[in-house]
Symmetry: C2
Subunit: 301 residues, 2 copies
Amino acid sequence: MLNKKEVAKAYQEIQQSIVEGLTALDGGAIFEEENWERPGGGGGRSKVIQNGALIEKGGVNFSAVEGKLPDAIKKAFKTDKEDFFATGVSIVLHPHNPWVPIIHMNIRYFEMQTGDDTLQWFGGGIDVTPHYVVEKDAKFFHQQLKNTCDQFNKEFYPKFKTWADDYFFIKHRQETRGIGGIFYDRLTPANTELSWEQILEFSKAIGNSFLPIYTELVKSGREKTYTPAEKQWQYQRRSRYAEFNLVYDSGTKFGLETDGRIESILMSMPPMASWVYDFKAEPHSKEAETLSLLKKGINWV
Amino acid sequence: MLNKKEVAKAYQEIQQSIVEGLTALDGGAIFEEENWERPGGGGGRSKVIQNGALIEKGGVNFSAVEGKLPDAIKKAFKTDKEDFFATGVSIVLHPHNPWVPIIHMNIRYFEMQTGDDTLQWFGGGIDVTPHYVVEKDAKFFHQQLKNTCDQFNKEFYPKFKTWADDYFFIKHRQETRGIGGIFYDRLTPANTELSWEQILEFSKAIGNSFLPIYTELVKSGREKTYTPAEKQWQYQRRSRYAEFNLVYDSGTKFGLETDGRIESILMSMPPMASWVYDFKAEPHSKEAETLSLLKKGINWV
């Protein structure tokens, strides 16, 4: 059996190594740390960067919380289990340069139990939201995810890629949030052909793939110059990101409904975003091209 | 009995007179008109202004739609009525100058029926979201609303003022969206001591109060100079407005869930908004003072 404290410890180490890597990558600002405790049990460590050289706003959050299962969660999961434990790392980074994509990663482990009767699973994913889709970068990104997934189960990448397409979908705009990535939930030995220890290793591998992947995407875009019009386009793409997070994202909705720590829940929100009425991209412009690629089912590898 | 076409006609005239008044008030841009039809029946006229001299982004929308009651509405209203008719005017204005408040107004009439069996009611309200609360303006605003309400029923203002406090509340921030105003719904002769014709007159009076009220608020603020820091504060207040509309506003949620016309539903979104992690206003600053006034139950008259 898994030891939940070891899962939390592994996740906290991943947070630390990502924060160190991103601090070096940014080169202009450091992450501010905030430790918080949850009244009902457990707590977390938020690491937030604002106005860096590379990152305009971003957070790398760790939490490990436990206690009595709140009624809202019981209802959402249709369970009568009494206690819960949840740990995870969540990242959202909004870069200054519109040629560097927004990135999001989450790895999480959840347990709920009554006495010895325990339900447990892993969830998570990585997805990327380019302001301008760069085909080479999109292919690289998906190939890296596939490489990591394939080490554990050849069915993971195609399954989790489709899951991400479906999950990161802005229904009222009929567009995907970005170029997707992978999304998975409720992983157990019963549905993965892996042991609990192997699923933990998979979860850690996803966490550890974050830094090399984002480093490469940053390298591709950060030196590109951009115009005020391209910056405005970035603001408009960010407004879609805000719409997704406030209207659809399960974690955000769940946090708002269960009176979670509001600044941690909404650290994913963009530093600046713009809504333009009825914007129409110029035909054949790079903005139009990007919009044409915000759909499900594109095979990038 | 009311004639629904006459209600719609009255509302469309109110839209037209407000658009004319706001065009003169703005002085720098005109409203663009878009007429649209609803596949199931009816349609609307959107009037949108962007980058005016006064108004950074705003819309004055009229619609009159009808047809088979969509299943989502049946479920929301817990009814098995078959047909519906809905007409209304909706306004949201985001001014450039942070010393001029955001304003929102809505007047609406709704019918649903099966054969001759009809349910019908009026709803609406006006509320104001100052980026900086100016006490004189807040008092003026609420006094005007009270004056209009008092002409119809002395119980309206206190009741509808409390209703607005409760409705325009950002639960996850534990703050009101602004200084409130009035909000009412499901008005019928049975709960107003007015005839249907008198309720229509009340609804029109609210609509017609909009322009003189906003003209006065604009006059108070538009000539004030402002710093980049004050503009940034406006962006931050607008992000709360975006949060309210996407997370709580019934009309927005309803529109998104029933595949409404997305640009009309989201015309209320701010032209530019900013999320700052864990912002703390300086003690005793005017930002802190405004935050201290974003709570329920303040008696402005």
